[in-house]
């Protein structure tokens, strides 16, 4: 591990990589502070930028945008009571009241330091856990990989979707879209109708741009009013808030650990992590009645937790090739553009890359800290950017990003069709993260499924092999049945007839 870190240090501190760390992080904060532009869209928008970059530089840029956008969501949450990202919903509860009391700067400082501490803790989890988990996953055969991917899909369907049926449908649609193109086993093209651009299937980058960027434009254009907000608040001292928050180090660490644990689970992500951490902080507080009135603890908990998700969510993505959510799926797409194949052998095939990721996770948080303190007076204007400017700019960047992927004009038509599909599905409350995960895992799922049957002398029963496979199946059943069992228990508590 030490060798990985040393190798990473020498690469990450090259001048161009430092510049990309800075650019990525600040761009991420900027994008995250714009309500409606969450981490998935923020990372999607940077995909055109990473074409032609060195893989390590490209990954650093994506991680900078990811981390920055998660923190950036707190800026609009505090200043205008609109979370910039789903991970900052709970930050509104105490952040905005603090701002209204004339303590907006203090709130921003608390949020900044909490986010950085959360990000650093998750970076250390990544450094210590990635290697062992990657080694463990080397022991998995095709049937185990198939079941783990299915479990991930099932978990996302269960947790990221309001309705189980809609979650399953979204996953199924995603898988079918992912299966378009050449079958890996037979080489036969499916659902391409002999049309060459579809022969290789729907391109991942094009699909992600359609589902996140284009679909979001259709929502943004319907927002009433041309600006997000014009309310002006006194900023005050950001440093004061930062220093004050260090008095609650224990809460920061506990919330960060909560976020890190939830981040490693597929389908959970920043949206759930910030709410769980807030709820835990409130229930364990000596003064829970003060939560919601503008107290520091109400910002520390969610902001530590949401940034703590980032590093640990990378572990299953890089070690197993299974993205835990929408943003990780976009990052996975970016890795494929850069020619990096995530999986258990990544650490042995490219140790410099893994070491660079470890170091960059730390550097990104330090950059966020410095830029946060220095640039708060600029960041406060971000939520006031007019939608009328945002929409055409995002459209221009998205079309450019779509074109440079394969240089097919028809990809821009696909991107609009896919954007319309995602728009319609979101309007009908279908989960896009489920669809994205299904799409990303489709061919690997099928490949592992076929391989399992090829090596099996028991046919389909290989998927119920003792002990590992059956345990994975049982965990999946438990995840699905647990809420039903809890409802049943609440309906018939013990002691009643």
């Amino acid at each position: 591990m030490l060798e990985l870190l040393i190798a990473g240090l020498t690469i990450v501190f090259e001048p161009f990589n430092i510049v990309m760390t800075l650019v990525g992080t600040i761009l991420g904060i900027f994008l995250g502070a714009l309500p409606g532009i969450g981490p998935p869209l923020a990372v999607t928008l940077i995909l055109p930028l990473i074409f032609g970059l060195d893989p390590i530089t490209g990954i650093i840029a994506m991680l900078g945008v990811f981390n920055g956008s998660v923190y950036g969501g707190s800026i609009s949450a505090i200043l205008i009571n609109i979370p910039g990202t789903p991970g900052s919903v709970a930050t509104c509860f105490d952040g905005y009241p603090m701002a209204r009391q004339g303590r907006a700067g203090e709130a921003l400082g608390v949020s900044l330091v909490s986010s950085v501490i959360g990000g650093l803790i998750t970076a250390f989890f990544f450094i210590f856990l990635f290697g062992p988990i990657a080694k463990l996953s080397l022991k998995f055969g095709p049937s185990q990989m198939f079941l783990i991917m299915l479990l991930a899909l099932g978990t996302v369907s269960r947790l990221a979707s309001g309705s189980i049926i809609k979650g399953i449908i979204s996953s199924g649609i995603g898988i079918l879209l992912g299966l378009i193109g050449y079958d890996l086993m037979s080489g036969i093209s499916r659902f391409s109708f002999g049309y060459r651009p579809l022969g290789g299937g729907l391109n991942l980058v094009v699909t992600l741009i359609g589902w996140f960027a284009i679909a979001e434009l259709f929502f943004l254009v319907q927002k009433k009013g041309t600006t997000i907000s014009t309310s002006k608040l006194k900023i005050g001292s950001v440093f004061k808030g930062g220093v004050e928050s260090l008095k609650h180090l224990r809460l920061m660490v506990v919330s960060s650990c909560t976020g890190a644990f939830l981040g490693a689970l597929p389908g959970v992500g920043i949206a759930l992590a910030n709410l769980v951490a807030y709820s835990n902080a409130k229930s364990s507080s000596k003064h829970p009645e003060k939560f919601g009135t503008g107290i520091i603890e109400g910002i520390i908990a969610p902001e530590s937790a949401n940034n703590a998700v980032t590093g640990c969510s990378l572990i299953p993505t890089l070690a197993l090739g299974i993205p835990g959510g929408a943003t990780l799926a976009v990052i996975l797409g970016g890795l494929m553009i850069l020619g990096v194949t995530p999986g258990p052998r990544l650490i042995t095939q490219d140790p410099r890359l893994v070491g660079s990721i470890m170091v960059s996770l730390i550097l990104i948080n330090l950059v966020m800290l410095v830029s946060g303190f220095l640039l708060t007076n600029i960041y406060q204007f971000i939520p006031r950017v007019k939608i009328a400017y945002l929409i055409p700019i995002i459209l221009a960047i998205s079309c450019f990003g779509t074109y440079i992927t394969r240089h097919y004009f028809v990809d821009m038509i696909f991107v609009i069709i896919l954007g319309l599909l995602a728009y319609g599905m979101r309007k009908a409350d279908y989960s896009i993260p489920c669809m994205v995960l299904g799409f990303v895992l489709a061919k690997t799922l099928e490949d592992n499924f076929h391989k399992s049957l090829l090596i099996s002398d028991k046919g389909y029963l290989i998927f119920l092999d003792w002990p590992v496979n059956i345990m994975i199946v049982l965990i999946g059943i438990l995840i699905y049945l647990f809420p039903v069992l809890m409802k049943f228990k609440n309906k018939f508590p013990s002691g009643e007839g």
Partner: protein, 156 residues
């Protein structure tokens, strides 16, 4: 009047999207049905399971919509010409069409100005300034620094 009420209850995303997805899945299944077993096994399995749940969900959505007396928030808007989503969609299609002939930069400048105007930014000076600044920054960052080539139109 009664028919229009029923039509309004059923004309929303909760019902239209499942139908769109059912059409897609059925088309996919028909397309792969004649392929060798190894090529069609996964799509048939996934397609069948998804179709099964879609049919259940469609029935649930139809029943819920028929019971629901309130105005559906996911209902498709009337007044298609005023529908901002359709306006944006039209802009996107025209943008791509113009880009295929004139290339990225001329079409993007036109798109920026038109879109901002349509969405509500009526100050021509600001619109022009934002468009020009964006194009300049874009050119410097993507073309000069990163060496990426945007689409060149058929006429160039």
């Amino acid at each position: 009047m009664k028919n229009k009420k029923w039509k309004n209850k059923l004309l929303n995303y909760e019902i239209i999207m499942p139908i769109v997805m059912i059409v897609f899945i059925v088309t996919f299944i028909v397309n792969v049905y004649s392929l060798p077993k190894v090529a069609k096994r996964a799509p048939l399995l996934v397609g069948s399971i998804t179709l099964f749940f879609l049919l259940i969900q469609t029935c649930i959505s139809i029943l819920n919509n028929l019971k629901n007396n309130e105005e559906e928030k996911s209902k498709l808007s009337r007044g298609l010409l005023k529908n901002k989503v359709l306006q944006l969609l039209l802009i996107m299609i025209l943008y791509i069409a113009v880009m295929s002939y004139f290339g990225y930069f001329p079409s993007t400048i036109i798109m920026l100005v038109v879109t901002m105007w349509v969405i509500g930014e009526k100050q021509l000076l600001r619109v022009t300034l934002v468009s020009v600044v964006f194009i300049i920054v874009f050119y410097i960052v993507f073309v000069k620094i990163f060496g990426l080539q945007p689409p060149v139109g058929l006429l160039q």
